[in-house]
Structure formats: C-alpha cells, structure tokens
C-alpha cells in the first residue's frame, strides 16, 4: 500500500521576472512530480525552467557539504570539511581581514540568485555585512542600470511603468528589444501581449533578431530588424519625422515637458550640423527610410500607444541614450499618464510586501560593478575606492556572468580569501577557498512577487528537508553572526519573518495564503504611472528638479560629460558596426529560453529544449566556409569560445548571437569549450551608473576544425 501523495504549493525564485506557481507532488519526503497553477484565473503558469525543478533539486552535482580548496584556484580541487570548520575558518578570515585592513577590504559580491522576499540573496548578504561593520559593495545593477538612470533623469523616479494588463487599452504597442517570450519578464506578460494582439492591438517588434517574441506578436510586416546599438538613432529620426510633419503633441510638451526645444534643435541638426533624417538613420540602423517614416507616423497617430523597452537596448555603450530618446518620443506623443500609453520607463514596481530589512552600509566604498576585476587587479593604486583582500560571493555566478571572463579569472587569483555560497560547482565556485552548500528554494520557505504585476504574491512552502548538509544563505549568515558577535542579525524563524511580511503587506489571512499558495490583491484597474502628474500637474509635479518631464535633464547637464548629454542623442557605440577589420561581426548575448541567467545551464530537460548554438546569418557563414552545425570558434582579443553554428535567417548579416549563461569551461589552451559568451564581452560600464554593456562587442567567427562532426542533434528532435 503506497503512501499518499501530498501536493505542496510553492514557487520559483529566479531572476527572470516571473514568479510562478509550482506544485510539488511529494511522497515519503520525495518530490515525484512538479505541476503548476491549475486553479482559477489568472493562473500563474510556470515555464520550461520551473517545470524542470526536480532536476535541480536532485541533480547529482549538487554541492552536498562544505569544501576547502586543495588545488590551485579554478582547478576545482576541493576536500570535504565540516560546517564547524568551514564557519570557523570563514569567521576567522573575516575578522583577520577586517582587523588588518579594515572592513572595506571585504567585497560583498552578492547577486540575483534568488529574488524572493526573505531569502533574497542580495539582501541576506547585505544585511549581514552592513550589520557586521560594513563591506565594499559593487555599484551599478549590471542588468538594468542604464534604464534606471535614464528614468531617473527624465521622470525623477527609478521605475515608471504600467501593469501589463493595461496593454489591452493600447491601440499600438512598440516592443523594443523586448523578448519576453523567451526571457519571462513577469508571469503572464507574454500571454497578455498575445491576447491584446488577438483583440486588435497592433504590435511592432524592433530587434536585431527575429525572436520568438517577434514571431508570436509581429509577423513579417511588423518586425523591424535593427543594427545593435543604434536604437537611439532610429528614435531620434522618428522624432525628426514627427517634427517635420507636425505630428508632435505641442500642448502636452508645453504643459508637462522641460527642454523640448533643445531636443528639437539636436534633432533638426542645429546643434551639430547633422539633421537626424530618416536617410541619416537608415545608414546607421539598417532600417529603410520608409519604415522609419511609417513607424513615426503610426506611433504619433495611433493613440494610445505603448512604447515598451526591453533591457537589451540599454546593455550597450551609452545605453542611457536610447532609453532617454524613447521617453522623449512618449512625451512628444502624449502617451504618458494615460491608459494604454507608456512612459517608456524602467518597469520593476516595488511590491507592497516588505523584504528582509537591510540597515545602511557603514562602509561607503563601492566599486563599479563592471570594473570588479580591474579593482581586484589594481586596487587603490588604480584609483579604486578599496584594496580588496577577501571576496564573499553569494547568489552570484560572478565570474560567468560579468563581462570579460578571462580577466575575471586573473582577478580572482589576487584576493587572499574567497568564500562562495553555491548550489553547484559553478565557474565562480571553482575559484573559492571555502565553498558553502546552499539549499534550493524547495528546501526552505519564502514569499515571491512578480515583476510589474505587484498584485499577486506566491507563498513558497518548503517542500522537502534540506538536501545533504545544505543550509540557506540566511542560516549560514546567522551562524556567522553568532560567531562574530553581530547582535540581532536574525532572531526570528523564517515563518515569523514571513508572517510579519505578509501582515505588513496587507495579506489578510496568512494561514490561508500558505495553504493556497497564491494571493491576488484586489485591484480595480491596472496601475498607470504618472496618472496624477498628468491629470493635476500643479498639485502633483514630477519629482524632477523642474517638476516637469525633463527631456532636457538638469541633473545630466551638471555631470558635464559629453557621453551623457542633457538631451537624448545617438552616440555611436564602442565596438560598433564596421569599427574593426579584425573583428567584423557584432555579437549580442541575450537571455535565452534555456537558462535564467546561468541557472539551469546544467539541467538536462531544459538544455534539450534548444541546443546552445551561435546564431549566424547564412551570408556570414558561407563567407567563412561554415556549414550548418559546424563547430565554430568565436573570438576576439579578450578570449575565445567553441560552440556549434546555427545558420538562420532570423538574424541580420553582420551580427551573431550567442545566449549567455552557459558555464565557462576552459580547455588547456584557454579556449572556452562551452559557448560561455562572456569570454568575449567587454568590461566597461554605462556612463552614469555602471550598468553592463554586453551587446557592444565585436568578434570574428571561424570553423573550429574542418572535419568536425556536428554535435547538433537532428532538427526534428528540437525544432
């Protein structure tokens, strides 16, 4: 007689924008199956990643116990130690470094491994380090710093968006470098977009690739292929058309906007002698003039229209510019503060439910996140704010996910001590001196909320006991706090924290929330940014210095940096098209469907959804003697990687694409064997806030070995 199966509602915590329902089917303490939301609408259905979670939890490569390095850093040679020895060592090292060099010699390098409310990796680590006396931190959200800075400069806030359910009110939606069909970007985001399309919203997708999102929403006539890094040029040319044809909403500009005249002067060529005509933009962007005119006219006349910015365009050199230009277009068309419109701003809205509180950092030293490796290599002598002696990593596959992996490897040889919290022996963990094994979210409880759909919360019930000797990051830091005398770091159980969060967040019945696994906040209409600022500007000015939407930003003007002009401009990117004969191909490195950042790269069910491969247009492939499925070497001055080639018409000639997230695996000659794209990318930040600029990157591609047998599985298996 078999034991009954228990259904445990839980969720998924990754940095994909979605927070989806998972239901674990548990028998005798073992998860036998995972399903998702089959309840009432809106169902928060998980994706291909979440559904494969059993393979994460029970993966044979799970880190089981604490490890101490025995071989050289990066060799992956470790020996098992006890938790006591591990924590004693870590505590001793933290104390030693602090006493000898000061707390700024510790770098708290935490990242988005888990983005829930309690076990939120950046918060857990920060809380510990700030309460311990502080540590140097990385500044600049690698993922979306440029759009944050642009939103701040224009509107005076860091996030400005509509709930995705408002899209049904849009006559037109421009989805710009937006690939939510693969990346997620919020549970049900793509589902809402698709339904809006079916109900009559016209959708245009603008992207260097004909992505799955383009295929889903735009079909051929509404997809616009654009040269990477040139989005601002297309936008300012659209502004040119609107001005020339008298389509700008002058009443809106007069009432709500500062500095349109200066922007107009730039667009018309009165500032630099170059009118930003559709012909000018065509030469830069590859988008035909007629298409630019039609797009401008449509966006100006089909109201309301939602210009939605994905993050791809701003992970480029001068990534603030296309975001600022988009906001200028939104203002020129009066699409701000109205249902169906969009301010083209950064759209992660804070949830009403609190997260683990973090006191201020007593240490003020920060390192620009893109220059972390330089900082380890050059320190204070190199102009950085600290000399780092100890690197503490949690929820962050730093080496793999930051640009310029090979430089990162050199950098990680420098610190005296490296501690890493991890679930697997990732490329980053291989450089640790002490590795601490961490639970997955199914082995602990938590609350999760969804990007720009702040009105649903998921209770992530603990499904099974921690595997092996794994502990949560919070438990680990609690133990360290005890050893190091950090008073009041954590005096609560997880359940107590979560009960308090739920109460403060307005969830009326905590026990019911835990049992059902989902709570939907009552909501009369979708949130719309700046409704009050537009309907009653005298009483509700924008939180900018002038109180208006700043197309001319006084804050940016004060920086006096030509790379961040006070009005939006097109600035040609570094490593842009045509700038190198040696490395003639532009490389983009998007989020794909087979990872959430670098999570799931080792999960078989997910990896077989789509082979990891380099997108290359047949023209570029044929010119290099590359046939479908050939192993190719993608290389530039910073490194090289081997990956199979996929000849496809879904990418423009001159551009190749390799999804990021696959784990760096260097061969004897230093060439990466796994298609880990960051061996190629440049570690240089966006100007204002040091966001990543992954997509400004030039490479060359060559066949790896002429008679290689294609490792690609047959097309019929994977489509």
């Amino acid at each position: 007689m078999t034991s009954p199966v228990q259904l445990v509602p839980t969720g998924c915590p990754h940095d994909c924008g979605g927070k989806c329902v998972l239901v674990a089917h548990v028998r005798d303490g073992v998860i036998e199956r995972i399903t998702s939301d089959e309840g009432d609408d809106p169902q928060l259905r998980a994706c291909q990643r979440g559904r494969a979670y059993r393979q994460r939890v029970y993966h044979p490569d799970r880190l089981k116990y604490p490890l101490r390095r025995t071989g050289p850093r990066g060799s992956g040679q470790f020996t098992r130690i006890s938790w006591d020895e591990a924590l004693d060592t870590v505590a001793r090292e933290l104390l030693r470094v602090k006493e000898h060099y000061g707390p700024e010699a510790v770098l708290c390098a935490t990242g988005p491994g888990s983005l829930t409310h309690l076990h939120r990796t950046p918060l857990v680590a920060s809380r510990f380090f700030h309460m311990w006396g502080g540590a140097t931190k990385l500044r600049g959200a690698r993922s979306f710093q440029a759009i944050i800075d642009a939103t701040n400069a224009t509107y005076g806030v860091e996030a400005a968006c509509h709930d995705i359910e408002d899209i049904y009110n849009s006559r037109l939606a421009l989805l710009w470098s937006w690939n939510s069909a693969e990346t997620g970007y919020g549970t049900n985001t793509t589902w809402h977009l698709r339904q809006a399309r079916e109900r009559g919203t016209r959708m245009v997708v603008i992207d260097p690739r004909y992505t799955d999102t383009a295929a889903l929403l735009a079909d051929q006539s509404r997809y616009i292929g654009i040269v990477p890094g040139t989005d601002a040029a297309l936008m300012v040319a659209m502004a040119y058309v609107m001005i020339e044809e008298g389509l700008a909403d002058r009443a809106f500009l007069d009432r709500y906007v500062l500095g349109f005249d200066q922007f107009q002067a730039y667009v018309e060529g009165r500032t630099d002698g170059v009118p930003k005509t559709p012909a000018w933009a065509e030469a830069i962007t590859g988008v035909p003039q007629a298409t630019i005119r039609a797009l401008a006219r449509d966006y100006a006349t089909m109201k309301p229209a939602a210009l939605l910015l994905g993050f791809g365009m701003q992970r480029t050199a001068y990534g603030e510019q296309p975001c600022r230009a988009a906001m200028a277009l939104a203002a020129m068309t009066g699409n701000i503060g109205i249902p169906g419109g969009s301010p083209a701003g950064q759209f992660l809205r804070p949830s009403p439910i609190p997260k683990l509180p973090v006191p201020p950092n007593p240490v003020s030293a920060t390192i620009p996140s893109q220059l972390w490796a330089d900082a380890l290599l050059r320190g204070g002598a190199g102009g950085f704010q600290a000399d780092i002696r100890l690197v503490y990593v949690s929820g962050n596959n730093l080496l793999n996910q930051q640009a310029n992996t090979n430089k990162g490897c050199q950098a990680l040889l420098r610190p005296e001590t490296i501690v890493v919290h991890e679930q697997f022996l990732t490329p980053t963990a291989r450089y640790a001196d002490i590795v601490l094994p961490v639970t997955t979210h199914l082995e602990r409880e938590d609350i999760a909320t969804i990007w720009h759909m702040g009105h649903s919360a998921i209770y992530m019930n603990q499904v099974i006991e921690p595997m092996y000797e794994c502990r949560s990051d919070l438990e680990i830091f609690t133990e360290l706090a005890r050893r190091l005398g950090v008073a009041e770091f954590n005096g609560r159980s997880d359940r107590e924290w979560l009960r308090a969060f739920a109460a403060e967040g307005g969830i009326p019945d905590f026990d019911r929330f835990r049992e059902q696994g989902v709570y939907h906040f009552p909501q009369s209409q979708p949130h719309i940014a700046f409704r009050e600022q537009i309907s009653d500007p005298e009483r509700h000015p924008f939180p900018t210095p002038s109180g208006k939407i700043e197309i001319y930003s006084e804050r940016l003007a004060k920086l006096r940096r030509p790379e961040v002009p006070p009005v939006p401009q097109y600035i040609a990117p570094w490593e842009g098209r045509g700038q190198s004969k040696e490395y003639p191909l532009q490389l983009v490195s998007p989020h794909g469907k087979t990872t959430a950042l670098s999570t799931y790269a080792n999960i078989p069910w997910v990896q077989e959804v789509e082979p990891h491969r380099l997108w290359i247009n047949p023209l570029d492939a044929v010119a290099r003697g590359i046939a479908e499925g050939d192993m190719v070497r993608v290389y530039n001055g910073r490194g090289a990687t081997l990956v199979p080639a996929w000849l496809t018409q879904r990418i423009m000639p001159g551009v190749v694409s390799l999804n990021h997230g696959h784990w760096f695996d260097p061969g004897d000659d230093g060439t990466d064997q796994a298609g880990s794209v960051n061996v190629l990318t440049l570690d240089r930040g966006t100007i204002v806030g040091d966001g990543a600029t992954y997509h400004s990157c030039l490479v060359e591609v060559a066949r790896a070995c002429p008679d290689s047998i294609s490792p690609l599985p047959r097309r019929e298996r994977f489509g």
């Binding site: 199956r33 995972i34 399903t35 998702s36 089959e38 259905r45 998980a46 994706c47 291909q48 559904r51 494969a52 059993r54 393979q55 069909a181 693969e182 049900n188 793509t190 589902w191 698709r194 399309r197 079916e198 109900r199 009559g200 919203t201 016209r202 959708m203 004909y210 799955d212 999102t213 295929a215 889903l216 079909d219 051929q220 509404r222 997809y223 616009i224 292929g225 469907k593 078989p604 069910w605 997910v606 990896q607 077989e608 959804v609 789509e610 247009n617 496809t648 018409q649 879904r650 990418i651 423009m652 000639p653 599985p713 097309r715 019929e716 298996r717 994977f718 489509g719």
Partner: protein
Amino acid sequence: MTQLAFYFDPTRCTGCGTCAVACKDWNNVPAGPVSWRRIETIEDGEFPNVRVRRLLRGCLHCARPTCIPTCPVGAITKRADDGVVLVDRERCLPNCYACLSACPHRAPQFGDDGRMQMCNFCPERLADGAKPVCVAACPMRALDAGPMDHLVRAYGNGHWTEGYPDAARTSPSVIIAPEHPGSD
C-alpha cells in the same frame, strides 16, 4: 465512442518547450532522444522577411491508426470509449520499429530499452477530470484537449497544416488553428 483529441494554435506557440518538459516530468521520461510531446520549429524567408512556424509533434491518437495493424505482437490498441491509442510496453518487441515505419507522424519513440513509448493522453489526469499535463502547462494557452466534437465546435475543423502528412491517411485526432491570427 467519444474520440479525444488535441487542439493546437501554432500562432500562440513560442517554442518555449514547457509542454515538452512538463510531459517528461509527469511521465518520468529522462533527457535524451525520447520525447512524447515535442514542438518542431521551421523557418523560411530571408532576413528581415522571415516566417517561423511551429508543428505539434507526438501521437495524435488517430481515428484510423496505421501503427496498430503493423505491430507484429499486437502491443498497440485503440481504447474503445475514448479512442486514445496506447502501447503496452511490456508486450512490445524491443527494437522492432514496425510502428515507426507505419506512422506518418513519426510518433513512436524509443529509449534505451528499445520498446515503444508515446503520448498516452495522461490517463491519471483524465481520471481526475483534468486535461493532459502539456495542455495545463502551456504558458501561452496554445493547447487544449477534449472530445473531438467539442473542439470542433470551439475552434473549427482544421485538421491539417503544412508539414503534416495528408490527414486522410490516418485521420489524426487534432484540430489546428489557422495561421493568420488577429486583426491589426
């Protein structure tokens, strides 16, 4: 007999693979060449005028399955009440492949044991009044399942799409949505 069938809207499908993974998890099919539920993606055209199409692959529980008469050991049957085509894996002759040769949809799958396996319409879920796991899983609601006449009433009677064999051969129990969706 109330034939059960699948419905697929290829224009909603993004090729995300959630259906394939959900099926593997539900049925404990390991990573590898066996998939009971697959999506095939086909592209044509020239950048930027490209077209991407998706095809639903897997057993379509045909009204006139050609796999059944070709099986030398009678391991495949068609259920009388709901038309679901099922293989008895214990009875299957390993590495025979006769059914694969006979199936115009190439539905039969073979793992390490050489015995045929394929979509069984999620009998446990049906018994609970739930739809197959791929249908429940699809984040784009591109799949549905139920009695054929219900699906025809809801979605029309498109039985064929380019890339499928002629429907008259085996009469697959599937409704495919037309490929020019929405109005804009």
